[in-house]
Structures are given as C-alpha cells and as structure tokens.
C-alpha cells in the first residue's frame, strides 16, 4: 500500500472530506459556533470537473437515519466561497446573526429563554 505512487495533482492543499471537512464545527467570522458541517454539495463544471459548492449544515443525522434528504430548498447550507480556513474547525466569513440555519436557536431564545427573568443578563 505504501509503495503506490503519489497522485500527480498536488497543485494546492489536499484535504479528505471525512478527515477534514465532514462533522467539523463551523465558526463565523468572530469564531462563534454555527452548527456542524453535515455534508457537502458538489456540482460539475462545464469541463466536467466536480467541485464543492455548498456545505450542508447540521449533523446530517436525519438524512442518514431516514435514508432521504430534505428537499434542496429547505436545506440549511453555506456557500463554499465564504470559507476562510480549515483547521480544527471550519472558519467562515459570515456573521452568525445572518445565518438562516440558526432559526431553531432563535426560536428557543425568543419563545423560552427571554420569557424567564434574567435570561438576557450577563451571568454573575
């Protein structure tokens, strides 16, 4: 296995989806968390090359358990071009307040947490 030749296309940094991308925490421009990267959407260019166009947010659990994907229009995604770094987490250039995918968090905040006294205060 280790005697196999190295693939010639090394014009850039090589990453593997499972190792470096999938299930990684996604962070916004201020390093605040925006869910995890559950899956990747690929498209083919005119020349037939596949490339990543979008990151699908969420744990991807519902798809993997029920065997089907949510329709494309309802999927929570981030476009590939906002990604700024791939390290222990995936850093992006968006502000989390602008990310639609966080609607459940906002629901909990607006319908439960702020209704309890002290919910908007700093701790201690």
């Amino acid at each position: 296995m280790t005697d196999l030749p190295q693939h010639p296309d090394r014009n850039g940094r090589l990453v593997d989806a499972n190792l470096h991308l999938l299930d990684r925490q996604v962070l916004d421009r201020d390093d605040r968390p925006i869910l995890a990267a559950g899956d990747l959407e690929l498209e083919q260019s005119d020349e037939g090359r596949w490339h990543i166009v979008r990151v699908i947010l969420g744990s991807g659990l519902t798809a993997r358990f029920f065997g089907a994907h949510r329709p494309a229009s309802t999927r929570d995604t981030l476009d590939w071009d906002i990604i700024t770094d791939l390290g222990a987490a995936i850093s992006t250039d968006v502000d989390r307040d602008d990310v639609d995918a966080l609607w459940t968090e906002r629901w909990w905040r607006d319908h439960v947490i702020v209704k309890i006294p002290g919910g908007q205060h700093d701790p201690g």
């Binding site: 190295q6 693939h7 499972n18 190792l19 991308l21 959407e41 596949w50 590939w80």
Partner: protein, 109 residues
C-alpha cells in the same frame, strides 16, 4: 450531488468487487483562503472497511500511539486513491474503468 450519498458505496470494476468508498479527496487551489477558489474533486479513497476509516491514520503522519496506529493501518492496508477520471459511473455502485490506476492514499505533509 451530495457527497454523503457516495461515501460507503461499493466499488466495482468489471463485476469484480474492489472495496467501498471510504473518503473523497479534494484539492484546495487557494490554500490560504480555501473559499476563494473551487475545491476540485481529485478522486475517491477506496478501502475495505468503512468502520474506522475516518480516523485516517493510514493517510497521515500521525504516528502514535503506535499499537493503535498499526492496528488501524492493518485494517485499511489495501486502501488506495482512485482518480475521479478513472470512475466510469457514479451510481448505486461506483464503477471503475478497466484500466484504473491505484494511487497512494497518503496525504503529503
């Protein structure tokens, strides 16, 4: 195409079972800011078990702990990279061209 659909699919060539898709390798043309350029699909990593493949010991320079590393490397000993152009068909089964090349799965450091 959703990548998750391809992972864990069986890989065959001319009716013979080769393995399963354990991962997909991409190249980031702009390493400083990955989003600025497309992340091109280079190929698929084919191995024997999908189980622990994501730990990736067999592909990276993480060498320790030795015993664990060796056991995981043993389990993925036949893992190799297939160029995407050698993939004839991406369907329920990933079909490879008859003359496909096997490339090293190692990630360059």
């Amino acid at each position: 195409m959703i990548l998750g659909d391809i992972l864990s699919r069986p890989v065959e060539c001319g009716g013979e079972r080769i393995g399963v898709v354990v991962d997909a390798r991409f190249v980031l043309r702009d390493a400083d800011r990955p989003g600025r350029a497309p992340a091109d699909l280079v190929g698929l990593l084919v191995g024997q078990h999908t189980g622990m493949a994501f730990l990736g010991y067999e592909r990276s320079s993480v060498a320790r702990p030795h015993l664990l590393n060796r056991w995981l490397a043993y389990r993925q000993r036949d893992c190799f990279l297939v160029d995407i152009d050698d993939v004839a068909h991406l369907g329920e089964v990933v079909e490879l061209r008859a003359d496909f090349d096997r490339w090293s799965p190692m990630l360059p450091e």
